[in-house]
């Protein structure tokens, strides 16, 4: 099978699985028989969310409603929506598959995706809320010359959104082919059309509620599966681990290993294996995940939907709790798949591989613990999950164009709300069409690197500019723009010349990649921060003096919230 083949190369395994975990590449999937239970459940979800969109559309009149749902979302609701924005379909299917394949290593991925949240809470969430209005560029450009900083922030947003969106669209096509038995292009068009409708008519209000509903469904479905797995073992993790080790040992023995080798192979799921090849890659990848989370434009945008700093910090606590809980569930689900899926010939092909590929681990487990109806439910939830993520991305890309480029750069802040809203709607349609076209164009491509790249760019360009502009008085317009672009360019270039893209995607010979590590973040983040610092201290222009003079007022507002854009008073 192509998925197996695609995961087979030892060097590729890491990159592919990382991307799986991040929500990108579900590999090439074989088309399955049409699953009507899943389609009916998904149709119910779509009907319900369209009804919510209709309700939201009636409330979406101004640009503020469109970007921030009027600022009236509570911390608890926003926390669920952030979790819904962040937990992608492939982090559900990909992490549980990684745990099924290699046990403990799957846990290492999920931890990487969680640890950025405290950093967001401690350093950014409240200050973002106090300084910003619609986009993170409002914060990054607060005391700087608007045009260059907005141009940088819009580039950072659009590049991150583009890579993340392509990865989601291709993942959606593969997943839906797998789960629903629909054609690839049909799946991509359905996802593109629905996300356009949600964002176009319902703006942030509809997007938020789609994300909340999806988060609840996903958490409920995963909780049920983990509960059913643990129930079989009398809620003893030791019993579950022991059974999984026994099964893995049996599989290894059947593959012709000696009893000692088989026992070692079976026990290997209980400790770290091939995840960390070299410490530099491990640290670099860890930095991309941790600080990338703090630079994802669609996540940062969610902080402007709450009324004040208190709700902003509460929302990250809720998000962290739900996401952490979800990763514990996927870990249990992965072990459950070893016990109930790998031992059931009904889920395996003649060679003992999983029907539909390894990413079907959680889906087959849903069938094993809950029968066909629950299988349909989990498939529908996986589809809903993709919709929630792409809607958030599209909204964030549309805001960068309409608020940062159109209203601030082109109209110099004098655009009226109606014109700005019109531009965001046109951009939404354009983004939807581009996403569908690229989703179809990239069907056969190896896009495993795209989500890791999106995180690396967010960590190397958006995050340094945001952090330095908020916390460092000496930061100037020139420093932020040059340093930010250096971080953006270096993260993209280093990814292109890394083995994942240079050898695996572009087909150059093995060993010819110029950059040996899996993730560029350690280097490109350093370049970004160093560039901001260097070009700021070298900047003696009149603008630089003005930038520094503006720091006090910015700091006072970021600390106290005095003068902050209120719940409705945008």
């Amino acid at each position: 099978m192509r998925l197996r083949h695609h995961l087979a190369g030892a060097g590729l395994w890491l990159a592919s699985t990382l991307a799986l975990a991040a929500g990108a590449d579900l590999g090439q999937a074989d088309k399955q028989a049409t699953n009507w239970t899943a389609i009916v459940m998904f149709a119910i979800f779509v009907a319900f969310t369209l009804w919510i969109t209709k309700w939201a559309a009636a409330k979406t009149r101004s640009a503020a409603d469109f970007y921030t749902a009027g600022g009236g979302i509570t911390g608890f609701q926003n926390g669920l929506a952030i979790a819904g924005d962040y937990m992608s379909a492939a982090s559900f299917l990909g992490i549980s598959a990684a745990v099924m394949a290699s046990g403990f290593d799957g846990l290492i991925f999920s931890i990487g995706f969680l640890v950025g949240w405290p950093v967001v809470t401690f350093l950014l969430a409240e200050r973002l809320r106090n300084l910003g209005k619609f986009t993170f560029a409002d914060v990054a450009a607060f005391r700087f010359e608007q045009t260059p900083v907005r141009m940088f922030a819009a580039s950072g947003t659009l590049v991150v959104v583009a890579f993340y969106l392509i990865a989601q669209m291709v993942g959606a096509g593969q997943l839906i082919k797998l789960l629903f038995g629909l054609e690839y292009w049909m799946a991509v068009v359905i996802v593109g059309a629905l996300m356009m409708i949600y964002v176009l008519f319902g703006g942030m209000t509809a997007t938020t509620w789609v994300q909340i509903i999806k988060a609840i469904l996903l958490l409920a479905g995963a909780s049920f599966m983990a509960f059913m797995v643990l129930l079989q073992f009398g809620f003893s993790p030791e019993a579950m681990f022991a059974k999984a080790v026994e099964i893995k040992t049996g599989i290894a023995a059947k593959a012709g290993k000696t009893p000692e080798e088989a026992a070692a192979a079976g026990f290997s799921i209980m400790g770290p294996g091939g995840f960390v090849k070299d410490p530099i890659s491990a640290i670099s990848f860890g930095m991309a995940l941790m600080f990338g989370t703090a630079g994802l434009p669609h996540i940062l945008m969610r902080f402007f939907t709450v009324p004040n700093a208190k709700e902003a910090r509460k929302s990250v606590l809720w998000a962290t709790t739900w996401i952490g809980y979800f990763y514990i569930l996927t870990f249990i689900i992965g072990f459950g798949a070893i016990v109930f899926v790998l031992t059931n010939p009904g889920f395996l092909d003649a060679k003992g591989a999983l029907l539909g590929g390894n990413n079907m681990a959680a889906v087959h487990l849903a069938n094993a613990v809950g029968g066909n109806v629950f299988l349909g439910f989990i498939s529908a939830v996986a589809f809903a999950t993709i919709l929630a993520v792409v809607a958030g991305l599209t909204l964030s890309g549309a805001s960068a164009v309409s608020h940062d480029l159109y209203a601030t750069v082109i109209k110099k802040g004098k655009a009226d709300s109606a014109a700005e809203l019109r531009v965001s709607k046109i951009t939404t349609v354009a983004l939807g069409i581009i996403a569908v076209v690229l989703g179809i164009a990239f069907e056969k491509q190896n896009i495993a690197f795209m989500v890791s790249l999106a995180f690396a760019i967010a960590a190397s360009a958006n995050f340094p500019v945001l952090l330095m502009s908020v916390l460092w008085k000496g930061c100037t317009t020139r420093g932020a723009v040059i340093g930010g672009f250096l971080g953006l360019i270096s993260s993209v270039v280093l990814t292109v010349v890394s083995p994942t893209v240079w050898e695996a995607t572009l087909g150059n010979p093995k060993g010819s990649a110029l950059f040996p590590y899996t993730s560029p973040a350690l280097f490109s983040m350093t370049i970004g921060f160093f560039g901001i610092w260097l070009f700021s201290i070298l900047d003696n222009s009149r603008r630089a003096a003005q930038d520094k003079a503006g720091f006090l007022a910015q700091q006072v507002r970021s600390e106290t919230g005095i003068g902050a854009a209120g719940a409705s008073g945008h």
Partner: protein
């Protein structure tokens, strides 16, 4: 906000206290999170066999509680910040606002 108002606020002792406490708490907890996460990653990179050490007679290894511990730590440390911030920072910010805007 004009510069004179900003300067008046910045001169308030309560504002100084708020700024100092938020900055110090934020950075201390950030460093704690960095130490725990990169400590875990370095353990994975350099001492795999330690994480694969069995606890007692079963198959459960020390890596399991450590890995799950990092997840729980991440949630708990966020909760600690939010609880402290809810208790102290909002009240301080209110006092600052009242003092300068009266």
């Amino acid at each position: 906000m004009d510069t004179t108002l900003a300067e008046r606020i910045a001169g308030q002792p309560k504002y100084q206290e708020l700024k100092a406490r938020r900055t110090s708490l934020g950075w201390r907890l950030t460093i704690a999170m960095l130490v725990v996460y990169y400590g875990f990653i370095l353990l994975v990179a350099f001492n795999k066999s330690f994480l694969a050490t069995r606890l007692g007679d079963g198959v459960t290894t020390i890596g399991m509680p450590i890995g799950l511990g990092v997840i729980v730590f991440t949630i708990v440390i966020t909760a600690i910040y939010v609880q402290r911030a809810n208790r102290d920072f909002d009240a301080l910010a209110d006092e600052v606002t009242k003092a300068v805007l009266k």
